[in-house]
């Protein structure tokens, strides 16, 4: 067979598998626009990667993700053998060293999944051989399983009509998982990603589970991954429970998604209500970095007055001005009341 000779000449060790027609990807249910949630958007027009990997943006996203070590180092329910706890006597210095180690470990656990543009379908045909039509009832997939070759390996498909083409992304993912399995990933994706099951899981508020599963199963440029993550972010946006992802690796991409799609108003409101003003200011700064052409982007931002930054955003670019204004007013009133209360207490103590 020509393909085999070609392969031999190329000096590659190929394994060819008679593959049946590709696994029927479960047709995703039509994405209907429901009253409570919007259709998630994918990164398919502008490339977000240069912005996401920019050091300023990374710094902001890392800062905004909290450092709740109880949540970061919580027990993992992953069927591993449990070890009894260790108790050690340490000096102050040793304790400091251990704390630094743990901070570094927390950084690695909070590594954000990359945000990149959706991949283009592969349509490279190497040769058309109509003479080979009907050589078999199934198509053959040739995969290069040489040791040491990463997942960007060569995968070719000989269709039943004789076309020799490069494998599509779905076929590539399947073959790579067969010959180079990764933990947490299945050959056929979990049925969680189907619309009905996804809705069920999101109703039970298991956001981190779905996002972790999506990270393990898909590549960041897979349209399916962007669809699933977009759906989760939209649900969080609709329910305003952003804090579910606080101190996890998904908070950064969530904030980036909201800034990209100009939906940071509800997030800002929530942060003001929780009195996390510096985080709110960081989100506004992120927004200006992602959309440098917005009205108030050029203005000088005073880093020590986060409330002013948020107000500036609110006056110029906000889409839900009323709610944000109300939240800011409420916060200012609370601060004033607290101040008065403290003054009264001081006066009562005669200070």
């Amino acid at each position: 067979m020509e393909a085999v000779r070609v392969a031999a000449a190329a000096g590659l060790r190929l394994a060819w598998t008679a593959a049946t027609s590709p696994a029927v990807r479960v047709a995703s249910a039509p994405r209907l626009a429901r009253a409570c949630s919007t259709i998630p958007s994918r990164y398919d027009e502008r490339d977000p990667a240069p912005l996401f990997f920019d050091s300023k943006v990374q710094e902001i996203l890392k800062r905004v993700t909290g450092r709740n070590y109880d949540k970061i180092f919580r027990r993992r329910y992953d069927e591993k053998k449990l070890n009894p706890p260790k108790y050690e006597f340490l000096t102050e210095e040793e304790l400091g060293e251990l704390k630094e180690e743990m901070e570094k470990k927390a950084e690695t656990l909070l590594q954000m999944p990359p945000v990149v543009k959706q991949r283009e379908p592969i349509q490279v045909v190497l040769s058309r051989d109509p003479a080979l039509t009907g050589f078999d009832t199934c198509r053959y997939v040739f995969t290069d399983i040489t040791y040491g070759v990463p997942d960007r390996r060569l995968i070719l498909v000989r269709d039943t009509d004789g076309t020799l083409r490069q494998a599509s992304w779905e076929e590539r993912d399947r073959m790579n998982q067969i010959y180079n399995p990764q933990s947490g990933r299945k050959i056929r994706p979990h049925r969680v990603f189907e619309e009905e099951n996804l809705k069920n899981v999101l109703d039970r508020e298991e956001y981190e589970f779905v996002l972790d599963l999506a990270c393990a199963q898909f590549e960041p440029d897979d349209p399916e991954y962007q669809q699933v993550t977009g759906r989760v972010y939209e649900t969080l946006e609709a329910r305003r429970c952003y804090q579910a992802l606080h101190s996890t690796r998904h908070y950064g991409p969530l904030c980036f998604y909201l800034a990209w799609n100009k939906k940071i108003d509800n997030l800002l409101t929530t942060l003001i209500q929780l009195e996390l003003l510096s985080e709110g200011a960081d989100i506004v700064r992120l927004y200006y970095l992602v959309h440098p052409d917005s009205k108030s982007a050029g203005h000088h931002m005073d880093l020590s007055l986060p409330l002013e930054t948020i107000k500036m955003y609110m006056e110029q670019d906000s889409l839900q001005r009323a709610k944000l204004q109300l939240a800011i007013q409420a916060y200012q009133e609370i601060v004033q009341q607290r101040h008065h209360h403290q003054e009264d207490v001081k006066a009562a103590h005669g200070l």
Binding site: E2, V6, A9, A10, G11, L12, A49, P50, F53, S55, R76, Y77, D78, E79, K81, L82, T108, L109, Q111, P113, P114, V116, R119, E120, I122, V124, L126, S127, R128, D129, Y147, G148, V149, P150, D151, R152, L154, L164, Q166, R172, D173, N180, Q182, G184, H190, R191, V192, N197, N200, V201, E206, F209, V210, D212, L213, C215, A216, E219, P220, D221
Partner: protein, 260 residues
């Protein structure tokens, strides 16, 4: 049965003669008439209703049962295996539990396992209330039969149901941590933001982000910060070049053949 056959007469004689000849008389083996009246009684014998397990209970009934008063009085708040005691000789139970409790739709043991004894306990992915009772609260693993005392068939059913439930998302678990190498997704990413995986291009966990050869984008400048990253990228490039050249050669050859 042989005694019965011998007593009957004609059929029995034929059977014995068959044995002497070395041929089994299939008629004697399968014919109901020659088996005698006592077999007839056994064929039509009523199965004890308490041991009858021929009726298939749907999952919805089981789900309702888990919330019912009957369940509450039977088990209370304990898991269904808690108060079950396994019978065995000696101090230590055998390592394996019995193979199955139900044979041909009838309970065939005196002390069936916790799930077989209650017909309304159906092991199904949708019945998460029941499945969770067999999952360890400490590390989310399925409890071994040394604790639950399920028969081996039911334990396999449980494992299948739990796997299906986890696939659908009805039972959640902690997914293994996925570490990314930012260089694979954006070559200009600074080395401080990339994860410090020491593996080189041979790392099997590196991503399939860049288009497959020979569509590799060549005009992207590789990061030149640390030595480790440069070596990985150069080995990558070397591999690419070799493959590219080979592919180019082969594609040329194919083209020339096709043109004939």
């Amino acid at each position: 049965m042989l005694a019965g056959l011998l007593r009957t007469g004609v059929g029995g004689r034929q059977l014995i003669q068959g044995w002497r000849r070395g041929v089994s008389m299939s008629g004697a083996l399968r014919c109901e008439a020659t088996d005698g009246e006592e077999e007839e009684g056994q064929a039509r014998k009523q199965i004890d209703p308490a041991k009858d397990r021929t009726r298939v209970i749907p999952v919805e009934t089981s789900l309702k049962y888990m919330q019912s008063e009957a369940y509450q009085t039977a088990y209370g708040d304990d898991p269904v295996w808690k108060k079950y005691k396994r019978n065995f000789k000696g101090q230590f139970p055998p390592k394996k539990t019995r193979k199955l409790c139900i044979r041909a739709g009838v309970l065939s043991t005196g002390n069936p396992c916790p799930v077989c004894r209650d017909e309304y306990l159906v092991l199904d992915p949708r019945n998460t209330a029941l499945l969770k009772q067999f999952i360890s609260p400490h590390n989310n693993g399925i409890l071994p039969t040394s604790i639950t005392n399920l028969c081996r068939k039911r334990h396999r059913e449980l494992e299948v149901a739990v796997q299906q439930a986890r696939d659908i998302g009805l039972l959640t678990y902690d997914v293994p941590f996925r570490r990314y190498n930012y260089q694979d997704y954006y070559p200009l990413a600074s080395s401080s933001s990339s994860s410090s995986t020491t593996a080189s291009a041979t790392s099997s966990s590196s991503a399939c982000l860049r288009p497959p050869l020979p569509l590799l984008v060549r005009n992207v400048k590789m990061a030149r910060n640390t030595t480790t990253t440069t070596t990985t990228t150069t080995t990558n490039n070397n591999n690419n070049n070799v493959h590219d050249q080979n592919i180019n050669k082969t594609s040329l050859r194919l083209n020339t053949r096709g043109s004939h």
